[in-house]
Subunit: 348 residues, 4 copies
């Protein structure tokens, strides 16, 4: 157990008590393996209902990197690549997992972690109109994360525009929703699960960071990507032997709106923290209203803070300032937030 | 929950109650992620002690396919392949995961799931003395499973002979121990964890099938394979965000000999079942004393049995007989074994 | 230059004089690169005509391993594999090139280098009816070589049967024609280029072993495989900068039936040699009527022969006999064949 | 044959007459295959002499993309990547060949096509000091091209600085010398083959663009990269069956300094052309003294020029200007250069 109070990420604790309770309650039941049990079936049904589309394919995988690789390798042939913001998780923090499967990640510039429809259009047109197009990787998928790695979110209009460009040009649109709950309940969000299921070809609903011990629920609307998907899950190591563990967890999370209720808690805690940073006048690296706060602070204050609190160092901004990240989650205790707030305002 | 009693595999239930208890007890503690927490450190220490070697590297991964791929891709350059029995899990049941990482699985014939030192020597010599050796995949690793996919085990003499051939020829020896507990407590076993750690370059201790919700503990003795291993864990999707879940589970399993105690239960249950098959005179496909029983039965009897019990169909032997597998595990209830025994002897 | 007379393979010399003449004649002409020049267009036209189908896509690559990898990686997604005889070139003599692209080669037993329709049907049915089918590599392509690595050829009926199984089950049929010329003019052949183009989804016409300095002409009839094929050629390193070298060579080879005329010479030379072996009563490893002769000879005779002639050692048959290969080609000189014949009959 | 005069690349013609003569003269000789003939041995010797180091390994491959992939895949394990300028050929013009082998290309910004030692140092230090370093691709190789894709060259001091950073940090330094001849005879060059062999771990001497029909000579000084290199050549499709074609060509090119003599011709022709552009006051995109001229011209002038001359369109600079490339080569005819010069000065 850590001696500091941890705000450096949103996966410091285990699972929401209701999730864990259900794992305990079902522990000695016998089920078949590999996600073909009734708990997975039931959880998939609830997710389909939450998305408002009975035709969606839903699969449960263990973790995010694995999910990204599985989806992307399902979608691409070996001469095709995936467009993404240079800040995208697949581009920087997955030890080249996508490339290890043979596909180039085509990074596009981004200040706020988001891609625009115009960027995608330009990249696509630039490819097909290049004389040497066959000497270049063919863009075939667009990867976005929502919320992004910088905590920002897409508006419905932005996502619709991306979707339109993708469909017109035969590109798959894939949303990494590792923190999807925290995006969907953000104060400035206007997207629904239903919108996302309609506008994307495939996306996933993150459990690891939102109430589960682990687990990501992949939702596929495009028929081309549904075919043979379980082969890819197995090959990439994501087919959990005791797959019912994933089913049980998502079943609980999608019962009585739990997934969204616990996400709201994280946002409330983040808003409290933002109050502290704003009171001190610390500028944001990128403003957002989700559970990740990127703030630029004096190094001296950061050193002081680090005695009791853990944050995530991002990068040096100038000789005396750095950008750092504070995360809240479904598990964040109000007392810890108040302690950090008080330290920020009065202590450093 | 299944309506039949399941004997078709050894991962039908969740975790051993003591394991689950500890997950519950530590649930709301904060720890750092990715296996760098104190639970993982403590579990690794206990495993090193159990193996009798303080210099071993120990890492925790989520599942077996993932572990096999991670170890093999760490070990091989792209022109190198891994020798294994044609029945080996990596050769038949991992959807080409090893090939998807670029490496050929070089299958060698085997009736009982085991490789011999002589086979490995012959394969190696055959390669280096072939005029076209550079046109062929270079053998660089030997993969064995213990117990094998057919439930057989290696004797100490057999493993020592394999190890000798491998070391003399610069081949890595890798043991897949997905069911290692069930092998080490088998009545005819003479291997110890310590022997395995000394004779193999890398092996893993399976948790998924022996008391854990999920998880495999990789133990590396060869310095070459220790280097940068965590990069590979991450890239292959095996670096669990809440890595402490793995640490907690293996910590419990390696406290008070629990891993071996619960393995013994599976073996006792299997021995009871063997009594039934032997009483009926059903021949074994391959005899063994571990937790998997491969038996050849009349199709008619199998059909009758299937009304109440689930087994794993293996293959057709002749027009009226098939080979099937029955598994026991740490979780197998004695009453279910007695029910099956009675059905085998009297009911079919 | 070798001091012995070489019969160990069919690529000991350069190009047919007419081919080389044309390379010289066009040497200082300026053309665009990468196979988009008029020579390639013209050669492709001639090949389409020879195959009797204007809709075929024709591409020129440099060598055989490269061609196999390019075709196979174009056809398969990463969970799919290619069925082939265990003796198939891709399975044994390409240093795992197919696996290095992520695909498993699914070897099927074969004594004569050929696959049967029944084998393919059984492998396919065995896959789709296996309970664990998603845990196994999905067969999606069938690779055959004609002539095979053992010099045998497919009859029209055999190829039609393979084609029928493949089409019914959604498998691509791919023929490696590295020595196609030597098969099509064999005395016992009843296949035409037109048959092959109709029955296969893709095949290639080998130039390296039949009159060219190098080069293989890939012919694609299946629309799915035509799409984006040039991306794969480039990625796999087969897009020759001065692509016209390939166009010029195949243009000459497919003018005035040259490809077939020079193939016939190889067959005639092989028939002369067979006379010698048969006179001595040396048995064939596998009988055939193409340009490769696999014969079993006493080691003593082989040692004597090796003083003046080079053959290809295949494998030890018993304590005093080995199987070896003698090849003829378009370039084989009659005087050398007579010298070898005389040595076989009288000298050893 | 093209109707325009081509300046768009440096591989429009065949081979230097002396090279072709020798291919013709040796055509019907018999040699063993796969680069193990005496011509390859002799050519390798001459290259070792030209580099002043008898211990160098020299191998002959067919083309550039293939060579890059072969070298890079030999050097890297799957969690490692290759640093290169964003403009590097492997990053933009090889259809993701490096990624298709599983390795990420780590692009660094560059205006002139070159990397600096400081950039490499920063990238390396940034990796090892990042808290999430195991979640990121490990830089292990530095790829540079000389001349670069923009025609610029490295000075001896620059290359020495790169080499120093690489050796200190355990990175391999790899130089793509597809146009090496044109760099080494440039007026402002101070590097020798000997310097390059000493400062790089591996590099190649391009034949395709400098006098050969095709072919690249890989020169390896680092022992780690020498091991098993031929396996990789074969696997990546670069092991030409009639390997002597490569040996014969490089043997001629490295006899009587031919490689450098014909390179000088290209440079002289480029200097003549530069005179024309400078007289008209057209600015360079990036100035250089090698065989590629990148010049910014009015679109109207370009359109006029295109009626008789072919150049390579690079990119739009503003509404009425574009950057284009003109190449000369060993084969460029003076009369064509004069025609273009005159058109540039007087015609457009």
């Amino acid at each position: 157990m850590s001696e500091k109070i941890l705000f450096q990420c949103d996966y410091n604790e285990g699972a929401h008590p209701k999730v864990l309770e259900r794992i305990v309650a079902t522990n000695m039941e016998q089920t078949v393996g590999y996600g073909e049990d009734s708990y997975c079936a039931q959880a998939a049904d609830k997710i389909r209902k939450a998305c408002g589309d009975e035709s969606l394919a839903v699969h449960f995988l263990v973790g995010g990197t694995q999910t990204n690789v599985t989806v992307i390798d399902t979608a691409l042939r070996s001469h095709q690549g995936v467009l993404c913001a240079v800040t995208g998780h697949i581009n920087v923090h997955e030890t080249g997992a996508v490339e290890a499967c043979g596909h180039k990640v085509l990074g596009l510039p981004s200040e706020d972690g988001k891609l625009t429809a115009a960027q995608v259009e330009e990249a696509y047109q630039g490819h097909i109109h290049n004389d040497s197009f066959e000497h270049m990787v063919q863009p075939k998928m667009v990867y976005i994360s929502n919320p992004t790695e910088l905590g920002t979110i897409y508006s419905k209009a932005e996502l619709a525009a991306l979707s339109e460009v993708c469909r017109r040009n035969g590109l798959y649109l894939f949303m990494d929703g590792a923190r999807l709950g925290y995006g969907l309940v953000a104060p400035d969000n206007d997207l629904t699960l239903n919108d996302i299921a309609k506008l994307c070809d495939v996306f996933y609903i993150g459990g690891t960071k939102v109430g589960a011990l682990f687990g990501e629920a992949v939702v596929i609307s495009n028929e081309e990507l549904k075919k043979d998907f379980r082969y890819f899950i197995k090959q990439k190591g994501g087919m959990l032997a005791k797959g019912r563990l994933l089913g049980v967890q998502f079943d609980v999370l999608f019962t009585d709106n739990l997934y969204f209720e616990i996400s709201k808690h994280a946002i409330q805690m983040a808003e409290v923290l933002r109050g502290a940073f704003e009171e001190k006048g610390y500028p944001y690296l990128v403003p957002n209203r989700t559970n990740q706060i990127f703030v630029i602070m004096p190094d001296e204050a950061l050193a002081k803070l680090a005695e009791r609190f853990d944050y995530c160092y991002d990068h040096r901004v100038d000789d005396t300032h750095s950008a750092v990240r504070f995360c809240t989650s479904w598990a964040t205790k109000e007392e810890n937030v108040q302690a950090l707030k008080s330290e920020v305002i009065n202590g450093i």
